[in-house]
């Protein structure tokens, strides 16, 4: 990364392409959050690469004045893995959606997380297929009526946080499009994280799935439903903190704060090596309904794939010396014919 801190104006990060999402789409807010964040992230823009797959969110790279690949459906984590491991000096960001990352690209997502490739994955979850005009997605709630499920979806939705934690992810966080401060804070944490970061961003699709996250954004309900996970702080939420999270027998539960001893209230620790508590927190909600945790679930250190691959190359060069073609083609033994 560049040693001299680089700062830009937001407009420096904007490409000359017209943004073509539907008016009112949550993607606009996220784009602004990312551009604002990157203007001050301290990395020169030629070292930033955005990689996406297919879907509404996947148009994101076209709007960033950085390097970018708009690849094919579901494969962005794999393309980004190739980018990252080929040039560890780059800051590599994947933008994906719930269909792209969890359905067609599920395999690539879990393996990028498992390998701890040094890439940051932003998954915009709108719980619907937008670009194909409104079919249920792997995060749509059971019973969801869409064009492809006129009688209601009969499928159990995935919980992206649980999936990422189960896939050995070292950084797992959730934000919501409307909360720019929360998003900026998570992006900062993700940028500083060594390895894969998985960030789910709840994103409103006002055309095909409007108000899916209303319980977390509506003034009337959001205080009661947002469980803000803050490292080192007691996990209380609701009006005047009257609700709290406790861990009993390893399972996260929501209780009335007044019913428990203060010492029992869960103090969030993003660096806990054992993923069980983070997983349990992810089970407090199954979708944005009722009390739902937001913030960083988990941030732990592990060697990154990107670094380890290059360590092996460096070691090989140290032990054997820089490869020589003439030696290589003679390495199986030769004989002379005169």
């Amino acid at each position: 990364m560049s040693k001299i801190p680089v700062t830009y104006k937001r407009t420096d990060l904007q490409s000359d392409q017209e943004v073509k999402w539907c008016p009112g789409c949550g993607d606009y807010t996220i784009l602004a959050s990312v551009q604002n964040f990157m203007a001050e992230m301290g990395i020169s823009k030629e070292k930033i690469v955005f990689v996406s797959g297919i879907g509404c969110a996947a148009r994101f790279p076209y709007y960033m004045n950085t390097y970018g690949v708009h690849s094919i459906h579901g494969r962005a984590p794999a393309v980004a893995t190739g980018v990252s491991v080929s040039n560890p000096d780059l800051s590599v960001w994947v933008v994906s959606g719930d269909g792209d990352a969890l359905s067609i690209g599920g395999n690539h997502l879990i393996h990028a997380l498992r390998k701890n490739v040094n890439i940051k994955i932003l998954m915009f979850n709108n719980q619907i297929y937008g670009l194909t005009k409104g079919q249920y997605s792997p995060t749509s709630e059971e019973g969801k009526k869409t064009k492809s499920s006129p009688f209601g979806s009969v499928e159990m939705p995935l919980n992206p946080m649980s999936l990422a934690i189960g896939a050995e992810a070292t950084f797992v966080a959730r934000s919501i499009d409307m909360d720019r401060d929360l998003t900026a804070g998570i992006l900062e944490e993700a940028k500083n994280h060594k390895g894969s970061a998985f960030v789910e961003i709840y994103q409103n699709c006002n055309v095909f799935n409007d108000k899916a996250f209303e319980q977390l954004t509506n003034k009337e309900t959001k205080v009661a439903n947002r469980i803000n996970l803050v490292h080192g702080e007691k996990t209380v939420f609701g009006e005047d903190g009257h609700k709290a999270v406790v861990i009993r027998n390893g399972i996260a539960q929501i209780v009335d704060t007044k019913d428990v001893d203060e010492s029992e209230i869960y103090v969030h620790n993003i660096h806990e090596e054992n993923p069980s508590i983070a997983f349990s927190l992810s089970r407090l909600s199954h979708g944005p309904y009722g009390p739902t945790p937001l913030g960083v679930f988990r941030k732990v250190q592990r060697d990154t794939f990107t670094e380890e691959v290059h360590d092996q190359i460096d070691n090989a060069k140290e032990q054997k010396g820089e490869g020589e073609l003439d030696k290589l083609i003679r390495s199986l033994g030769t004989w002379d014919v005169s």
């Binding site: 094919i72 794999a78 199986l332």
Partner: protein
């Protein structure tokens, strides 16, 4: 060792086939005999054949693994047709291979394996040694297991480990019979088991036991020698196609001043490329064993975007999975080499058998109008040059290139007269570090000669650009749905590929140029076709051959070559794929010789079929 008690008959060539259970170590014995013969100075060619199962039930036909080698004192091109010698380690190996043994061929049997149980398992109703079916062959029964047990009595090894060395007894005996010294193999054993000296000693003892059996038993006192071949002067190594291909990629990266990235998912018979490249990290090679075939290709596209010589390798079924990703590379105009080591298909098909049935798929197996260059390796050593050539085209023209090999090229081996690496051409790239217009960077402003676009690499200030699978506007590379632009870009991508015809080696004619008949081939049939044409020419039959390395585009003199002949014959290990391409492109009434039995053509088979067509 005593050599007094033997006669030595000099012969120009011999084909030996070792056959046994897949756990009997036949590939090892074959390889050792081959390497010793190579060092001795013979020309040679090998054909390993093994079951797709790692350990099929012991003693059954399904579990038989074999290795054939032809050694000669002249320049040969194939691993031989019918073996002159068959070593059969059990009844199943005998049953599976006897029908190939040449009349009066030498048949060496491990007699200890001919128990009733094994005889029945192999599907024999009566002991084949007593039924008369071995009449017409020279049969030598050797108690290999008994010899091994006796020889290794002095070692403290478990019974199963002891019997594992019986292949060394067989190798020792064959080494005696064909006058091959043991030193090379002894060194190899000591090297291989340097940390297990007891095992090394036991194997060397077994090897010598087999050799000494030949000295002792009168039946083996008539021995043979194949003298050195008069090969062109040079330094040689014995190489198989997968290794040749791997080294070709490393060489190409070096000569392009790039690092190599190889993304792959394990698949037979391409995995050895991944194994080989992963050994050579000191060449800055990154090998990426992906979670699946698609990821292997996709990561390679990512690597290409950053400026690597990116290669993804696979075999038939994997190529199908990579298809969409190859289209992305084609549309984004990024260099990428896709290696397809063909095997029998469709579906899982015959994973360990050669076939040339992915030619049409390589040319046309993508959605949309998506032409790309296709290059094919014609022999194990040629795989090096084919990989180099595929890389050259990919980098120079900013395009994905499919490199076809097959199981026959990949696992077969031959001596390779090593090139002077300094004489390998430097490879051009389209890397750009500065703006290409006064007004800014145009990522799709093409080179006027090659039509390649510039390759701007992340990390280069001022050239930040976005690229993807949506149609791009010529010049700016911005997303464009404009009708005329799509027509133009489609035409341009096709033209860019067809233009390569001027930049590749011309099609050469081999054999009798005055003949009326041309035998046209591609890929691994090279050895068989060339040998057949040589034999026919020696007999006075007028015939010539030409062999494609480039399948798309064809060399620009192809029509000229074809027009010189009245008749064109195209042998292929498929049902007629090059045949269709040639008929369509050159409007010639070509005839096919086609086979999809999972076996390569033998030179004799092609000789007979070509002659029959000529004589019609």
């Amino acid at each position: 060792m005593s050599t007094e008690n033997k006669t030595v008959e000099s012969i120009p060539a011999i084909t030996i086939r070792f056959a046994g259970d897949s756990g009997d170590g036949m590939q090892l014995v074959g390889t050792r005999f081959t390497d010793t013969s190579a060092v001795f100075g013979n020309d040679l060619a090998t054909l390993p054949a093994f079951p797709a199962e790692i350990r099929a039930p012991q003693g059954t036909i399904a579990g038989v693994s074999s290795f054939q080698v032809q050694i000669a004192d002249f320049d040969i091109l194939t691993p031989g047709d019918n073996p002159d010698v068959l070593v059969a380690m059990n009844p199943a190996a005998l049953k599976a291979h006897l029908h190939d043994l040449a009349p009066n061929g030498m048949l060496i049997l491990n007699e200890d394996a001919f128990e009733e149980k094994n005889i029945t398992k192999a599907g024999y109703k009566v002991d084949p040694r007593e039924s008369g079916e071995l009449d017409g062959y020279r049969v030598f029964q050797v108690p290999m297991e008994k010899l091994t047990k006796e020889a290794l009595e002095e070692f403290d090894l478990p019974g199963r480990a002891v019997l594992r060395s019986k292949n060394m007894v067989a190798l020792g005996l064959i080494s005696w019979t064909f006058n091959r010294p043991l030193e090379d193999t002894e060194n190899w054993i000591n090297n291989k088991f340097s940390k297990l000296p007891e095992i090394a000693k036991a194997n060397i003892k077994a090897l010598k036991t087999g050799y000494n059996f030949g000295i002792t038993v009168e039946a083996f006192h008539h021995t043979y020698v194949v003298e050195k071949a008069a090969l062109p002067a040079g330094e040689y190594t014995n190489i198989n196609g997968n290794i040749g291909l791997s080294w070709g990629l490393i060489a190409a990266a070096k000569k392009a001043n790039l690092d190599l990235f190889y993304g792959s998912y394990p698949i037979t018979p391409a995995s050895d490329i991944l194994h080989e490249l992963s050994k050579h990290k000191n060449f800055n090679v990154i090998t990426f064993q992906a979670e699946d075939e698609i990821a292997a290709a996709a990561a390679s596209v990512g690597a290409s975007f950053t400026g690597k010589l990116a290669v993804t390798g696979t075999s038939g079924p994997g190529l199908a999975l990579k298809s969409e990703t190859i289209s992305l590379a084609l549309s984004a105009e990024l260099p990428l080499v896709i290696v397809n080591v063909q095997r029998g298909g469709p579906s899982t098909g015959l994973p360990t058998k050669p076939e040339q049935s992915d030619l049409m798929f390589a040319l046309y197996g993508r959605h949309g109008e998506s032409p790309l260059p296709v290059v094919a390796a014609k022999s194990p050593s040629h795989a090096f040059y084919a990989a180099y050539e595929a890389s050259r085209i990919a980098l120079k023209y900013m395009t994905p290139v499919i490199l076809l090999s097959d199981n026959y090229v990949a696992t077969g081996s031959e001596p390779w007269n090593l090139p002077n690496t300094e004489e390998l051409n430097e490879l051009e790239t389209n890397i750009i570090t500065k703006l290409n217009t006064e007004d800014g960077f145009l990522p799709f402003l093409r080179n006027v000669d090659t039509f390649a676009r510039p390759w701007a690499l992340p990390g280069t200030p001022g050239l930040e650009y976005r690229v993807g699978g949506l149609e791009k506007e010529e010049g700016t590379g911005n997303v464009s749905y404009d009708a005329a632009n799509h027509q133009y870009m489609t035409d341009m991508r096709a033209w860019k590929v067809s233009n390569i015809a001027n930049d590749i080696d011309k099609l050469e004619i081999h054999g009798d140029e005055t003949a009326d008949t041309l035998v046209l081939g591609w890929g691994s049939t090279y050895g068989g076709i060339t040998q057949a044409v040589n034999r026919l020419n020696e007999k006075g039959v007028k015939v010539a051959s030409a062999h494609f390395v480039h399948l798309n585009p064809f060399p620009d003199n192809t029509l000229e070559v074809i027009s010189k002949f009245k008749q064109v014959i195209i042998p292929e290990l498929n049902t007629g794929q090059l045949l269709k391409l040639v008929r369509e492109a050159f409007l010639v009434d070509a005839r096919g010789i086609n086979k999809v039995s999972g076996e390569p053509f033998t030179a004799q088979e092609l000789t007979d079929k070509i002659e029959a067509i000529i004589n019609e």
